[in-house]
């Protein structure tokens, strides 16, 4: 579906994507997500597939409904910056998470407050 400019200076200066097709893709991908969810796949495969499907849907919305596919590339840079920063944040969290995962079953982590060596020893109770 293509359209021409309607109002000089304010118009559609690019071809409109086929919005109905994008809507159908998004609906089908949502259906596939539900099938993957209900299939009883191993957890790693299920998580990987669901994340891939979600990102495919997000890219469809950004590229066609939000018109990033036809905008100037500089605008895409603005859109990509938060993705880069959030990915960076996830990598920053990884050392803590992997450490906790490795030690989860090896050590019992005390929830009691650590002793403060600067304080005098507690008085004996009577």
């Amino acid at each position: 579906m293509t359209t021409q400019a309607a109002v000089p200076g304010h118009a559609v200066d690019h071809a409109e994507p086929n919005y109905i097709a994008i809507f159908i893709y998004l609906s089908v991908l949502t259906g596939v997500e539900l099938i993957v969810y209900a299939m009883g796949l191993p957890q790693v495969a299920k998580v990987g597939l669901l994340i891939a499907l979600a990102f495919a849907k997000a890219v469809l919305v950004a590229m066609y409904f939000m018109h990033l596919a036809v905008e100037r590339r500089t605008l895409a840079v603005i859109a990509i910056i938060p993705i880069i920063l959030v990915t960076f944040l996830c990598f920053m969290l990884l050392p803590d998470l992997t450490t906790r995962l490795w030690t989860r079953f090896d050590h019992k982590i005390s929830t009691a407050a650590p002793a403060n060596p600067d304080l005098p020893p507690a008085a004996p109770t009577q």
Binding site: T3, A6, V7, G9, H10, A11, V12, D13, E16, Y19, I20, I22, F23, L26, S27, T30, E33, L34, Y37, K46, V47, L50, I51, L53, A54, K57, A58, V61, A62, F65, M66, E71, R72, T74, L75, I78, A79, I81, P82, I83, L85, V86, L89, C90, L93, D96, L97, R100, L101, R104
Partner: protein, 207 residues
């Protein structure tokens, strides 16, 4: 003011307008502003989802979302938001081509989609709080669920108000074809709300 002076002022104004014209989004400064706002908002949502993932991976006793959350209802809510994104682009197409009745009809459907989504979320929350005993202070699962879906719900509410204002202006005849840019900027916000829900649906409900 003489004609020469007026012409010079006009020319100067045109030069100023050219200088203010954003090269990234020609003809629509609001679009650049909205994209900048959305980039910041995306970082907030991204940090929230990353924190949710970190808390969940680090907690061996994290409950299965399927034990608490209704997937069918949420899948319908997802579908409604996708439908409302379609009606939003059709509303934009309508006003860009001077078809006011198409704009008003599809914009009304977009607002209706947002209201249905919010109504279903309210019913879901009522069920989870009243019947399942979930509470934001009970545990991390509940807290992260209510904070992320609540923050998104606030965005949907804002979008419904935003779109309603445009719809009312359109119905009053105060949104001519030359102001289609306003609808395009509102559309960016609404599609972003849809995009974020796609991620929340996957990370909070399905995984």
């Amino acid at each position: 003011m003489s004609e020469a002076a007026a012409a010079e002022t006009h020319e100067h104004g045109a030069v100023m307008a050219d200088q203010l014209e954003p090269s990234v989004t020609p003809g629509n400064l609001g679009k650049l502003g909205m994209w900048t706002f959305l980039a910041g908002d995306a970082m907030t949502f991204g940090a929230g989802i990353a924190a949710y993932g970190a808390l969940r991976i680090g907690n061996p006793n994290w409950p299965s979302p399927a034990d608490y959350l209704g997937i069918t209802t949420t899948a319908v809510m997802t579908f409604i938001l996708i439908c409302s994104s379609l009606t939003m682009v059709e509303a934009l197409s309508g006003i860009q081509h001077g078809n006011q009745s198409k704009f008003r009809g599809f914009m009304a459907l977009t607002v209706l989609g947002g209201l249905i989504f919010l109504g279903m979320q309210a019913i879901e929350w009522h069920h989870l709080i009243g019947e399942r005993g979930m509470s934001v202070k009970r545990d991390l699962f509940d807290a992260t669920f209510f904070i992320l879906t609540g923050f998104h719900g606030m965005h949907v509410t804002g979008g419904v108000v935003y779109n309603s204002v445009l719809l009312i202006r359109g119905m009053m005849g105060k949104l001519p074809q030359s102001k289609a840019n306003l609808v395009e900027v509102a559309g960016l916000y609404w599609h972003f709300v849809d995009l974020v829900w796609i991620l929340i649906f996957t990370f909070i409900y399905l995984i």
